[in-house]
C-alpha cells in the first residue's frame, strides 16, 4: 500500500501529536492551589528596608521558595492581627460579615476583565480572607466549617493571599457597584496589613516607604538632589519661555508649602507637569516653598499599614509647622489624595496650627479643606482660571486631541470630575470623552496602582490595563485622540506603557503640562516650543 499523501486523512496521526489540554482544572477555588506565574508577582521586600523601618521578619526570601521563612508562631500572629483589626475597624468587621455574594462586583475588576482568573473577582479575592475569618471568628464556621465557606489558615492560603492581594490596585471600582457599599480596597488593605505582620511584602512598596522615611521622598532624593533637579527643570523652562523662574526650597515664612509626588522629579512625562507647576507659581506670583524633607506627596504607607500611612503623612505636617506656612498645596497625585481626604484627619489632624486655605490670587476660601488645610492643585488652578487670573492661548495645544483618564483616587475617593475637565477645556481646543462606562466614577484603573507599578509584573499590569487601553484605542480610532491626560503620577508612568501596548501613538500628559503650554506669561519670548521641546502646532495643523 502506498504511503498516504498530506491531502489524505490517513497521513495525519493525531494520536502522535502533542496533546494540549485546553480545559482548565475543575476543582473548586478552595482546592486549586496558587501557581506563581512569571509576570504576575512582585519581588519581595529586601531585608535592609524592613530593618530600617522596624517591620517584622526581615530576611531574604522569594515567593518561589517552598519555605517562606515565616516566624514559628505565624498563625497566632495572623489571628491576633485579625482580632485586633476586627475590634479596631468596624468597617472591616462589617465587610467580613455582610457580603451576600450577589456577584455585582464580580465582573467589574480590571484584572478579572482582562485576565479572567476567577480569584481576581473582587468577591472571591475578599473570600480568600473571609473564609479564614469564618472558620475562626464566627460560630457557624466553627461548627460546620466548609459548609459555610470556612477554611483553615495554612501556608498555602498565605501564599494565595500574597499572590492576589498584590493583584489588587485598591482602585475601588468594584465598590461602586456593591449594593452594600463594601469597600473591597479596604479588604485588600487589611490583607496586606496582616501579611506585613509576617514580613510578606513587596520591594516596590517597602523601598519607597523606607526612602521616604529617611529622606522625605520615595526615590530617596536628598536635598541637594532636589535642588539640582528643579534647577534642571528651570533651565528647560527658560529655553522655552525666556523666563527664569524662582526655586524656593525650605524657605521659612512662605505662605504655602507645595508638595507633589516625587515621580514627577524623575521621569517623563511627569517632569513636564512639574515644570508646569513651577511656571504657574511664577506667573501667579505665589509666596510658596518646596521642602526637601516633605518632598513626597504620595504615601506608599497606604499599601503597607495604617501605622505607616500615619508615619509618612505626619512628615508633611511637621514640615508645614517647622516652616511656618499658612496652608499646603498638593500636586497632581492619586492615592495621596485618598490619604489626605479620607485618613489624614483622623490620623494626624485636625491641622489647626495652619489656616483654612485661601487663594491669594482670587480670595476664594477652600472650605472643603477646612480641617486638613491642604488643597488639590487642580481645584486651585480651576479657581484661578474661573476668575480670569491666567492669560491662556489654547491654540498652542492645537496639535493635541485630548481625552481624560479619571485617576481612581481623585475620582472615586474625592469626586473630582468637573475640575480637571474644566481646566483641560480651558487650555485645549480639542477634547473628547472616552465611553461613559469607562470614565468618572466608573473609571478603569491603569493596572499599576497600589504598589504594583514595577516591571517584573508587566504581563499583569498590561492585562489589568486592557479595559483602559481598549477605551483609549476607541477614541484614538474614532476621534484621532493622541494625548491622554490624567492627574496622577503613577498613571503618568504606567499609562504610558499601557498606551504603548494597547493604543500605540497616544502619549500621556499631566494637566499642568497642558496648562503651562497654553499659559501666556508676563515677559515671555515668542513661544515656538512646548515643554517637550517640540515645535508648537497651531490652528489648521489639526484636521
Amino acid at each position: 500500500m502506498a504511503e498516504p499523501r498530506p491531502d489524505e486523512m490517513e497521513f495525519y496521526k493525531q494520536e502522535e501529536l502533542v496533546q494540549i489540554d485546553y480545559t482548565p482544572p475543575q476543582t473548586s477555588w478552595m482546592r486549586t492551589p496558587v501557581d506563581f506565574r512569571p509576570g504576575s508577582w512582585i519581588y519581595p521586600a529586601k531585608a535592609r528596608h524592613l530593618e530600617y523601618l522596624g517591620l517584622a521578619n526581615p530576611r531574604e526570601w522569594s515567593p518561589l521558595d517552598e519555605d517562606w521563612k515565616l516566624p514559628e508562631d505565624w498563625k497566632e500572629i495572623i489571628f491576633e492581627g485579625m482580632r485586633e483589626r476586627l475590634n479596631k475597624y468596624r468597617s472591616f468587621k462589617l465587610f467580613m460579615d455582610i457580603c451576600v455574594r450577589c456577584g455585582a462586583c464580580a465582573d467589574k475588576c480590571h484584572f478579572y476583565i482582562g485576565g479572567g482568573d476567577p480569584k481576581n473577582m473582587p468577591v472571591l479575592r475578599a473570600e480568600l480572607l473571609r473564609s479564614v475569618y469564618r472558620r475562626d471568628f464566627t460560630l457557624a464556621g466553627k461548627l460546620v466549617g466548609k459548609w459555610v465557606g470556612a477554611r483553615e489558615l495554612t501556608p498555602e492560603v498565605l501564599k494565595e493571599w500574597f499572590y492576589y492581594f498584590f493583584q489588587c490596585t485598591e482602585c475601588r471600582r468594584c465598590s461602586v457597584f456593591c449594593p452594600y457599599g463594601i469597600d473591597t480596597a479596604e479588604i485588600t488593605i487589611m490583607g496586606r496589613e496582616l501579611l506585613n505582620l509576617l514580613g510578606l511584602n513587596v520591594n516596590w512598596v517597602i523601598e519607597p516607604v523606607s526612602n521616604c522615611f529617611r529622606t522625605g521622598n520615595h526615590l530617596g532624593i536628598q536635598p541637594h538632589g532636589l535642588k539640582d533637579t528643579l534647577e534642571f527643570f528651570a533651565e528647560d523652562i527658560e529655553e522655552v519661555t525666556g523666563i527664569q523662574v524662582e526655586i524656593p526650597i525650605n524657605r521659612k515664612g512662605a505662605e504655602i508649602l507645595f508638595v507633589t509626588p516625587s515621580g514627577d522629579f524623575l521621569a517623563d512625562p511627569g517632569t513636564y507637569t512639574c515644570m508646569g507647576y513651577m511656571m504657574l507659581f511664577h506667573e501667579l506670583g505665589l509666596d510658596y516653598t518646596w521642602s526637601s524633607y516633605a518632598s513626597e506627596g504620595g504615601n506608599f504607607g497606604l499599601f503597607t499599614s495604617h501605622e505607616m500611612i500615619k508615619r509618612l503623612n505626619a512628615k508633611i505636617y511637621a514640615e508645614a509647622r517647622r516652616l511656618g506656612v499658612k496652608w499646603i498645596l498638593g500636586g497632581e497625585c492619586g492615592h495621596m489624595w485618598r490619604v489626605l481626604h479620607q485618613y489624614m484627619d483622623t490620623m494626624n489632624g485636625p491641622a489647626d496650627f495652619l489656616e483654612v486655605p485661601k487663594s491669594p490670587v482670587t480670595g476664594t476660601v477652600f472650605e472643603n479643606a477646612a480641617s486638613t488645610r491642604m488643597v488639590h492643585i487642580i481645584e486651585f488652578v480651576a479657581d484661578a482660571i474661573r476668575n480670569n487670573k491666567l492669560r491662556l492661548d489654547p491654540s498652542r495645544n492645537d496639535g493635541l486631541r485630548v481625552t481624560f483618564h479619571d485617576s481612581c483616587n481623585p475620582a472615586r475617593s474625592m469626586g473630582f470630575f468637573e475640575e480637571p475637565r474644566y481646566v483641560i477645556k480651558s487650555v485645549c481646543n480639542h477634547f473628547c470623552e472616552m465611553p461613559e462606562n469607562t470614565i468618572r466614577e466608573q473609571t478603569f484603573c491603569c493596572g499599576g496602582g497600589a504598589g504594583l507599578g514595577t516591571d517584573e509584573n508587566m504581563e499583569m499590569r498590561l492585562r489589568g490595563g486592557f479595559p483602559r487601553g481598549n477605551a483609549v484605542r476607541y477614541v484614538q480610532e474614532k476621534h484621532g485622540v493622541n494625548r491622554l491626560a490624567c492627574i496622577c503620577a503613577i498613571d503618568r508612568a504606567t499609562l504610558s506603557t499601557v498606551c504603548d501596548y494597547w493604543a500605540p501613538g497616544v502619549e500621556v500628559t499631566g494637566i499642568h503640562e497642558l496648562v503651562a503650554n497654553a499659559m501666556v506669561m508676563e515677559g515671555e519670548k515668542e513661544r515656538t516650543l512646548n515643554l517637550r521641546l517640540e515645535p508648537i502646532e497651531r490652528g489648521e495643523g489639526v484636521s
Binding site: 498530506p6 491531502d7 489524505e8 486523512m9 502533542v18 494540549i20 485546553y22 480545559t23 482548565p24 506565574r37 509576570g39 504576575s40 464580580a106 465582573d107 478579572y112 476583565i113 482582562g114 485576565g115 479572567g116 482568573d117 476567577p118 473577582m121 539640582d228 534642571f232 524623575l266 521621569a267 517623563d268 517632569t271 465611553p435 462606562n437 469607562t438 516591571d455 508587566m458 504581563e459 499583569m460 498590561l462 492585562r463 486592557f466 479595559p467 481598549n470 477605551a471 476607541y474 508612568a493 504610558s496 506603557t497 504603548d500 501596548y501 494597547w502
Partner: protein
Amino acid sequence: MFELICQHRERILETWLTKILSSYPEQTASFWSRNPNPFANPVGTTFKSRAERVFSALLDGAEPGELCLALEDILKIRAVQELTAAESVGFVFLLKDAAAEVLAEHLSDPGSLKQLIRFSRQVDLVALEAFEIFARSRERVFELRVKELKRTGFLLLKRSSQIAGNSDGTHSPTDPGEVQ
C-alpha cells in the same frame, strides 16, 4: 472553494468561539460570552469580532493584512494572560476541530473530506502567522519593560552628561522614545 464550510459557517464559528472560551475557567467563559458591551467586556467582544474576521478572511478572502490585524488583536490579549505559548496560539487549531465536529456527518463523502483537509491546511498557515504575531507581542512586552527603565534613567543620564560637559549632545544617552 469551501462551499460546504460556507454553508455551515455560523455553526462552525459559534463552535470555534465556544472552544476558545472553554479554555478559560467556566465563570469567565460565561461572562466573556454573555456581555456584549465592548468596554465592559473587551476580551469577550474582541475574541468574538476578530475570530469572525479571521474566519471570513479564510472563506471569502480579505485585503492583505486584514487577517493579521484581527489575529493581532486576539494575540495581544493572550500574550499577557496567564497562558503558555502553546495555549496562547493554540486557539487557531481549535478552528479545525470546530469544522470537523460540525461537518462530521459529511466526512464519508471524499469531496467533503478533501475540502476539510484543504481548509485545515489554510488554518495551519494562519497558525504560523499567529505564532509570528505572538512572538512579536512577547517581544513588545519586554521592550516596554526596557523602555520604562530607560525612561526613569534617561533624565539622570542626560543630567550627568551635561554636568560632564557634553552639552553638544555628541554623547547624549539614547532617547527612550527610540525603543518603538
